[in-house]
Symmetry: C2
Subunit: 205 residues, 2 copies
């Protein structure tokens, strides 16, 4: 008992500091928030960036529908309130990952400006870099790609409230990066994001 | 356009595999779930383990009231349903961190067996190690420590539904590790957790 009390003074009472994690990982934790229409190429860009960073020894992680909608947010539907809560929770989780030192890549349509702005504000308050990336693909091209046949279903009225068909997509007013996936190769888009990370000093030597 | 189509075939369509992350980080992502009475020493053990692991070049991260209750779970109260949802969300976030390769340490009273079992089941389904750690400190000692004066308030009736006073704590039936903080030094408790990680092969050479 006396030993425990004596030890008390050297107990760690708080989290490891962010700078210590960043030094360990040789990077700065941050969030790369991909936003754009369904089938605009967010996930493809996100996964390609994740693979490229990991190959370079950087720790990156994609949050997307696969690992969020079936898990953390499986109790949310598609009402206005639930959509906002969906993005809020993703923003909070991205913030935790960023705090841990991870280059966090989120891949969600996130069509509403107010929701994205809230996530940016969360990051600003936590002094974590937030990089809003507009995956700017014309709706015609998205609809032409349509790998899951969702535009087709939305046009047929089988899906209601589908972004780009009968629900609005509010493009970012001041995105940090714009990716024109209809005009550029994937490699170029990924390189553009890599440049942004280097420019911000997120990747250390 | 033709370029993009040609490039399509080499696009990465999915997440980086867990084995690749584990190789990069030289560890296996997992969750160390600390459970115990208020003031039992969960956070002190958790932070000390986090610091020790980071000092050894391992990536560890503590999820606790500080970074969860004020963020992701700030819209939850203390009703039975909200308490269950609180633990469910923490479990889902821990799972995501584990999938990313992080040694994730959670520090929450998590008094109900059913809630903890649900989190274990989530991890089992994801094939992620889940280590339930019972921070087994006698309630008398917790109450004696009481750094935030919460037991005192609960005894005075100022806080209702306080675990250990007027709300039950369901001790784990088969914890993976039991830490007797009333009998052992902090260093010993942390070493015990380190041994468990090594025994499970979570820390690679």
């Amino acid at each position: 008992m006396t030993d425990i009390k004596a030890t008390n003074v050297v107990w760690h009472e708080g989290h490891v500091e962010r700078a210590t994690r960043d030094a360990l990982l040789k990077q700065t934790g941050c969030t790369i928030w991909l936003t754009g229409l369904p089938s605009s190429g967010k996930s493809t860009v996100g996964f390609s960036l994740e693979h490229a960073l990991i190959q370079q020894g950087r720790l990156a992680y994609v949050l997307d529908g696969d690992n969020i909608r079936h898990g953390l947010n499986k109790n949310l539907g598609f009402s206005a309130a639930d959509r906002a809560e969906n993005i809020r929770r993703i923003g909070e989780v991205a913030k935790l990952f960023g705090d841990c030192g991870v280059i966090t890549i989120t891949s969600f349509v996130s069509p509403y400006r107010a929701d994205r702005d809230l996530v940016r504000a969360l990051h600003d308050a936590a002094k974590l870099p937030f990089i809003e990336v507009f995956v700017d693909t014309p709706v015609e091209l998205c609809e032409q790609r349509d790998p899951k046949g969702l535009y087709k279903k939305a046009r047929a009225g089988e899906i209601k409230g589908f972004t780009g068909v009968d629900d609005p997509y509010e493009a970012p007013l001041k995105p940090d990066v714009v990716l024109k996936t209809g005009e550029k190769k994937l490699e170029e888009c990924v390189a553009q994001l890599g440049d942004e990370l280097r420019k911000r000093g997120i990747l250390k030597a």
